[in-house]
């Protein structure tokens, strides 16, 4: 396995998510071979990498959508390797998956309520729904529309709102800015900052390396299923390799 190039130093934090030597494969295709990363409480960690590097697979493994073939995943100290997704939600995990995973046969509102499936505090849920509508007014307009007929971007907004609805401790986002208008992208990153300040930790997969790394406390660069580089967001942004490979400079 190739050497991980670590730059800069990381401010010590109480670990929330620890991934060790993660191996994932789909049938014959080996997507991840030995990914190791960690995320501290209240941290924003960015995963960047070329197409097919394994970013999505990493998130899938963490949120229990795919069973890893090897390695350990720990959440707040507890081993959650290979646990079913629905058992992770109560532990405070929320995942906005690649391809958005909207329930196209349900209305916008129903999708949001499903985000809060395990919550019982109706009043609070109501508040949060309003909060999301506040973030994305379009959704309020379309609350009764079948989400199948939403535009790509609108669906993306819905996906993110839905993830927020569960009031997670750890938020996994797979390319949240995908297909969104520049304005909305900014909104989203503003929101991420907000929720992070509220103490939510975020594991962020993003193609827009610039935005991602400037938000993240720490970043990992994946290449063909392995961590190639790691370091504080800002410093990664400065590193020439990154600027060349991912910022196209």
């Amino acid at each position: 396995m190739s050497e991980v190039q670590v730059i800069g130093t990381r401010a010590p934090r109480e670990p929330l998510l620890e991934v060790e030597q993660l191996h994932v494969s789909y049938g014959a295709i080996r997507a991840l071979h030995g990914v190791t990363l960690s995320l501290g409480k209240g941290e924003v960690v960015a995963l960047i990498g070329a197409n097919g590097a394994g970013k999505t697979s990493t998130l899938r493994a963490v949120s229990g959508m795919v069973k890893p073939h090897g390695g350990k995943i720990r959440l707040a100290g507890a081993d959650i390797t290979g646990m079913k997704s629905n058992l992770l939600v109560p532990r405070g995990m929320a995942h906005a998956p690649e391809g958005r995973g909207i329930f196209l046969n349900l209305t916008v509102e129903e999708n949001l309520d499903l985000g809060a499936y395990l919550r019982v505090d109706a009043a609070e849920v109501e508040k949060d729904r309003e909060y999301c509508f506040g973030l994305f007014p379009v959704l309020r307009e379309r609350r009764r529309q079948l989400s199948g007929t939403l535009s790509g971007g609108e669906q993306q907004m819905l996906a993110i709102s839905r993830a927020l609805m569960s009031r997670p401790k750890l938020l996994l986002l797979d390319e949240p800015s995908l297909g969104l208008a520049p304005q909305v992208v900014e909104t989203i990153f503003r929101i991420l900052r907000e929720v992070n300040q509220k103490g939510v930790s975020i594991l962020l997969v993003e193609q827009n390396a610039h935005l991602a790394l400037s938000l993240a406390n720490y970043g990992y660069v994946l290449e063909t299923g392995e961590v190639a580089m790691a370091g504080p967001g800002k410093e990664l942004l400065q590193s020439p390799e990154i600027r060349k490979a991912y910022l196209g400079e």
């Binding site: 789909y26 295709i29 960047i48 070329a50 197409n51 097919g52 590097a53 999505t56 690649e98 379009v138 007929t149 939403l150 535009s151 790509g152 971007g153 609108e154 993306q156 907004m157 390319e175 995908l178 297909g179 969104l180 208008a181 520049p182 304005q183 909305v184 992208v185 900014e186 193609q207 827009n208 390396a209 610039h210 060349k244 490979a245 991912y246 910022l247 196209g248």
Partner: protein
């Protein structure tokens, strides 16, 4: 094929509008694409861009207005007919043939290539004539197809050579899109970005004269986007196409498009060169957002004037 007069418009939308139960998704939409054009279509989410594509390619029938491909009115024509007139597209929510290999995905698109009873170009020309000619062309097309079935069943020598020829062309297209290494992988197993490129390869397979790209750069990192810009320009030349791009990445749109149309709530709020559009107040409010001015001061000055 290439020789087609650069001058005359290959794709025209004239006041095309469509509603979905009250919702005016697209209103009086106008557009013209000629060979060699590279135009952009932008606008906030839900503005009606993809809907515009759907109307142009015949997925939806415009509730009013006309769509003309190569001068021929195609309202309510079936998508495959419109495609055969020379209009190809990619999809925002990727729609590859998931279980087929990358190669086969492209080969599907190549079916119009089979060397038939009546020459394809010939028919294509007839179709563009429109009217009775088009009907005749459709009829002959059917005969071509039956004839072709038998060649396939009897393994006519010509057919075999052709199959190999098709495969070669498909491989070339994969090559062009830099997907040769995925030749025999099932489409569903490709990572997101490569799936997008495969869609483009597939679209090119149909020998289009106009290519519609719906957010081709989505899911690509800045570097890959840069490559894509180069690629799109190259495709335009190499296949002598007219191209219309939907994209939210301003760097890309502003970078490659000569002309940009901006939609908002289905209405066209601005048309013009990148500079002009970028400086347009309405556009900034509806779409780019003020911060865009901060990051791109030059636009700010223009807007100021």
């Amino acid at each position: 094929m290439t020789a087609a007069g650069t001058g005359e418009p290959l794709l025209q939308a004239k006041d095309a509008s469509i509603e979905f139960g009250g919702l005016k998704a697209l209103q009086r939409f106008n557009l013209e694409i000629r060979q060699g054009d590279l135009k952009g279509l932008i606008g906030p989410n839900g503005a009606g861009k993809t809907t515009a594509f759907n109307v142009l390619t015949g997925v939806y029938r415009p509730t009013s207005g006309d769509i003309l491909v190569c001068g021929q009115r195609v309202n309510g024509k079936k998508p495959y007919r419109i495609n055969r007139l020379g209009l190809a597209r990619t999809f925002q929510n990727i729609r590859l043939f998931k279980a087929l290999t990358a190669l086969d995905n492209v080969r599907v698109a190549l079916l119009s290539e089979s060397r038939p009873l009546f020459s394809a170009d010939w028919l294509a020309r007839m179709r563009r004539e429109g009217g009775a000619m088009a009907t005749v062309a459709a009829g002959l097309d059917a005969w071509n197809n039956y004839y072709d079935w038998w060649r396939a069943l009897l393994l006519a020598p010509g057919f075999l050579r052709e199959e190999e020829e098709l495969t070669r062309r498909a491989e070339q297209l994969l090559e062009v899109m830099g997907l040769s290494h995925r030749r025999d992988e099932e489409a569903r197993n490709l990572p997101y970005g490569e799936q997008r490129r495969l869609e483009i390869a597939r679209a090119l397979g149909t020998r289009p004269r106009v290519l519609l790209l719906d957010e081709p750069a989505a899911g690509m990192n800045t570097r890959e986007k840069a490559d894509l810009m180069v690629l799109i320009r190259r495709l335009k030349e190499q296949f002598s196409l007219g191209i219309l791009v939907i994209e939210h990445d301003m760097k890309l749109v502003m970078g490659i498009c000569e002309q940009i149309t901006v939609l908002d709530h289905g209405e066209t709020i601005a048309v013009g060169t990148p500079e002009k559009v970028r400086a347009d107040r309405k556009v900034i409010e509806a779409y780019l957002g003020d911060s865009y001015l901060e990051t791109h001061p030059e636009a700010g000055q223009e807007a100021a004037r």
